[in-house]
């Protein structure tokens, strides 16, 4: 099966998120960007699928900050092809627009399946994969935790609250939103990533022009005021343990002793 994995760059949540002057978005120019962790899961699942059954994996990224590194890293991990859709995306890309670009690009690609991260930290207008599926008018499944071949199509395990899982069969093209791959994303050594970079092999093509509106406007972005904060226990591990012991004992959760 030929699988396409769209990879999105998102703000590195480790960084302190500075806001732009208008207070309506993060300050994209100065922030660090990393691959969306759910997309990494999707890539892993795609590679596992390919390794088990053959076919190809194509990763595709929109020209966002540091996307090259993400795409080369995917090549180093075992993706067969990497495509960069170039254009001016510094202001950020909404899910609707991202999905429209991908749908237009996929229009003249040959593929069987799209695996994409189930969500991203900044998809406030909806999850890209689901929107993409509906633009392409193909089936979709979100929160998938496994994709296997099944009767010429695929079988997807969809996870619900409480650990219930539905198994769904998809015939024909589909978009699957991956929550978690069957195993943790593999480590790829920097030497391999660099070797991939030296080899080149990034197919760069202009992102298709699309007309996509979210209909949403961010009026204000702000850090939630935490209504409360834990009382921090001071001292070394033993002192902390002693305090915890006291607290639990006060509530009658430990029996015995003074």
């Amino acid at each position: 099966m030929d699988i396409v994995v769209p990879m999105q760059q998102t703000v590195d949540l480790v960084e302190e998120l500075e806001l732009n002057d208008a207070g309506t978005d993060v300050e994209r120019e100065y922030l660090k960007f990393v691959a969306n962790e759910w997309d990494e899961q999707a890539l892993e699942e795609a590679l596992l699928f390919k390794e088990a059954t053959g076919g190809t994996v194509t990763v595709v990224g929109i020209d966002e900050t540091d996307v090259d590194g993400t795409l080369y890293s995917a090549l180093a991990k075992g993706a067969d092809r990497a495509v960069k859709l170039s254009g001016d995306f510094e202001e950020g890309v909404s899910s609707h627009r991202r999905a429209a670009i991908l749908a237009a690009w996929l229009g003249d690609q040959s593929y069987d399946l799209v695996l994409v991260g189930v969500q991203s930290p900044e998809d406030l207008d909806g999850q890209t994969g689901v929107i993409l599926a509906n633009l392409l008018d193909v089936a979709h499944v979100s929160v998938a935790i496994g994709v296997e071949p099944h009767d010429g199509g695929v079988k997807v395990s969809q996870e619900f609250g409480g650990g219930v899982v539905h198994e769904l069969a998809l015939s024909g093209r589909a978009v699957v939103g991956i929550q978690a791959a069957r195993q943790a994303p593999r480590y790829v050594s920097i030497s391999r990533v660099r070797a991939a970079m030296q080899e080149g092999g990034l197919n760069e093509t202009a992102a298709p022009d699309v007309d996509a509106e979210t209909g949403t406007t961010v009026r204000r972005l702000y850090a939630p005021e935490s209504t409360s904060h834990a009382e921090m226990l001071e001292g070394d591990a033993d002192a902390v343990a002693a305090r915890i012991m006291e607290i639990v004992r006060e509530r009658g959760l430990v029996k015995g002793g003074s």
Binding site: D12, V14, K32, Y187, I190, S191, R192
Partner: protein, 661 residues
């Protein structure tokens, strides 16, 4: 003596020897390249000191070290005896030129030979005592890591010792009997005066049988020598042939410098690595010193070399997935270099282990915690996964601003390091160092968020590409700053900056902060009016003491602050690792039987009545604070500047800390 028979024996022995050696030589010639033919003078010097001078035996464990040295020197002298006795197969009164009874050197040589034979007999007897009666643990294998060695039969070592005894005895018999057989002949009488032992021996020999006994001695000596020669390549005593070349071809790079050129593929060993394997004589000095072996991991450096050797020689097979040793063996190493330091024949275990790790990293075969850490290094440039912007946050408690070396020229660039920047305990120490240097008017600055982990441990984890990425970043940061020299808090950073960064570009001198401080104290810039008087011991960090031979500065610092230093048994270059090196600090240590840091704390506790256990490495501060708490000791783990600041009369360390936060 029958020249024909002896010639026959000689030819058979030589042919067998050639047949045995051929495949071993072919292996060597077919192995990967290693650039070890440079600096011949230095190589000869090292060979003189470590091989012929037996330095590691003389400075190491006793009396086993002296025992070996005497056997070695015995063999040197007796090499001449062997030539003499071989020649006597053809000429009854053969003497080596210049060494005959009438020659100038003949007398002393004969005396030396006579005495050394007895010394060797004594030394070999002691060796037999260790193997047969004392059962010295080092010779039999440390469990669990050396289970395989432990389970093997140990007759080989015993046989070899008896063969050596046989050679000595044969020679004594031959020489003693000759004194009887040719009594009265001028040359023999000259010899007698220089051969007190053989002469003594000759009294036991009946005159009628003297000729026969001399012949028996001749055959005994020569045949055992020939058999011995053939046994060598088949046994651990191959080192008799390979150890001297192995010392000669040892790495001349700084101890702390791994090579870019090391082949990334552990399936392809270099000829030097093969020579290492040939040279291992299973003495176990490496395993005895190894913290991983002591803490009950699957790694023992000796067993590792033997496992590699057995696969290289085709005695055992690789596992189905092409492995020689399990991943756990490779990951257990703390890269403390104790094995390399201890090895008398110059085996380089640590680079070989790192080479194996490089393969594992390439396959992504590592534990999740380590994988996360590497990802943190790749994305944030530090092991904590914290934003670079947080790197200098520890400076917030200071009432002055440390200059940004990227914005103004400074004399010293302080390479602070991850632990000293992010670990809470070490942050206190970092603020102290900053205050002391600032107070002393030293011109120093930092790179702030421009600094990345130096990569010392990343490289030793085997992530060479990531190491290079970090180096490139730091080199670019150095290029954008103006300074005369670097000092580091972390000995690990110091090691790679000092010994490895030079391979990537021009580097300024690199010092440890203790070196800088001791200089400032000794030139009077920093005054210490209030000696602390505490009884302390000092833990030498591996990367400072063993790797970089910096053992003196911290001790002078302790002397200057007026502390009374009590040394632990393992100190200086013979220090014992805390267990954190080589990336071990980011791996699971819950399966260890006992953590090296805890053993070390107990070693200190055994000194009795200590006030402080002094450290000069941020990782040590973390490791030993934890270990001291776990073991429960009545001394405190303290970073050295806490004592410096107290001796300056600043305040109690506790108050300093409180004032700083």
């Amino acid at each position: 003596m029958s020249p024909v028979l002896f010639s026959l024996a000689l030819v058979i022995a030589a042919a067998t020897f050639a047949a045995i050696m051929a495949p071993r030589v072919r292996l060597l010639l077919g192995a990967g390249p290693a650039p070890r033919f440079d600096q011949l003078g230095e190589r000869l010097r090292r060979t003189a000191v470590y091989a012929f001078g037996q330095k590691k035996f003389l400075t190491g464990e006793q009396p086993a070290g002296l025992m070996h040295a005497f056997i070695f020197w015995g063999f040197m002298i007796l090499g001449l005896t062997v030539v003499t006795l071989f020649a006597r197969g053809y000429s009854e009164h053969f003497y080596l030129p210049l060494l005959g009874p009438g020659d100038l050197l003949g007398g002393p040589y004969t005396l030396l030979r006579d005495l050394i034979q007895v010394t060797v007999v004594v030394a070999v007897s002691y060796a037999l005592y260790r193997r047969l009666i004392a059962h010295t643990p080092r010779l039999f294998g440390y469990r669990p890591a050396e289970e395989r060695l432990h389970g093997e039969a140990h007759w080989e070592g015993i046989l070899i010792l008896f063969l050596i005894l046989g050679i000595m005895l044969g020679s004594l018999l031959h020489e003693g009997a000759r004194l009887v057989e040719f009594a009265g002949e001028a040359s023999v009488e000259k010899e007698r005066g220089w051969e007190p032992i053989s002469n003594l021996f000759s009294h036991l020999i009946p005159a009628g049988n003297a000729a026969t006994i001399a012949e028996v001695g001749f055959w005994m000596h020569n045949l055992i020598v020939l058999a011995f020669l053939n046994l060598l390549p088949l046994s651990k005593h191959f080192h008799i042939i390979t150890a001297i070349p192995n010392v000669f071809f040892g790495s001349l790079r700084p101890r702390g410098a791994l090579s870019k050129t090391d082949p990334g593929d552990p399936d392809a060993f270099t000829w030097k690595q093969v020579l290492d394997m040939y040279s291992c004589t299973e003495c176990g000095r490496c395993s005895a010193a190894c913290p991983a072996t002591a803490s009950g991991t699957d790694l023992a450096p000796r067993q590792l070399i033997l496992d590699l050797r057995d696969v290289v020689l085709g005695r055992t097979e690789r596992t189905e997935d092409g492995k020689i040793v399990s991943d756990d063996v490779l990951w257990a190493c703390t890269t403390c270099m104790a094995c390399v330091e201890a090895c008398p024949v110059g085996i380089e275990h640590v680079p070989t282990i790192v080479q194996g790790r490089r393969k594992l990293v390439d396959q992504g075969a590592m534990e999740p915690m380590l994988q996360d850490t590497l990802q943190n290094f790749a994305q944030q440039g530090n092991s904590y996964g914290k934003s670079s912007r947080m790197r200098a946050r520890w400076t917030k408690g200071l009432d002055f601003k440390i200059p940004d070396a990227r914005k103004e020229p400074v004399k010293y660039l302080w390479f602070v390091g991850d632990f000293a920047s992010f670990d809470e305990r070490s942050q206190e120490a970092s603020r102290r160092i900053a205050r002391i240097l600032h107070g002393a008017g030293v011109s120093f600055g930092m790179l702030y968020e421009g600094e990345r982990n130096a990569g010392n441990d990343v490289r030793r984890i085997g992530e060479e590409g990531l190491f290079e990425l970090l180096v490139e970043h730091n080199m670019a940061a150095f290029a954008g700053a103006e300074f005369k020299a670097i000092f580091t808090t972390d000995p690990h950073s110091l090691n790679t900056l000092k010994n490895e960064y030079g391979d990537f570009g021009e580097m300024k001198p690199v010092y440890h902060y203790t070196e800088l401080l001791v200089e400032l104290i000794e030139d009077g810039t920093i005054r210490l009016p209030e000696p602390v008087g505490s009884r302390v011991t000092y833990h030498d960090p591996c990367y400072l003491a063993r790797y970089n031979r910096i053992t003196d500065a911290p001790r002078r610092l302790l002397e200057a602050v007026g502390a009374q230093l009590v040394e632990m048994p393992r100190h200086g270059t013979n220090t014992f690792c805390c267990g954190a090196g080589g990336g071990r600090i980011w791996m699971d240590d819950s399966k260890l039987v006992e953590r090296p840091s805890e053993m070390r704390v107990k070693e200190a506790a055994a000194l009795g009545e200590l006030d402080y256990f002094v450290v000069t490495c941020p990782k040590d501060l973390a490791m030993y604070s934890d270990a001291a708490a776990t073991v429960g000791v009545d001394f405190e783990v303290i970073e050295v500047t806490a004592l410096v600041e107290r001796a300056m009369g600043a305040a109690e360390p506790g108050e300093l800390v409180a004032g700083a936060t």
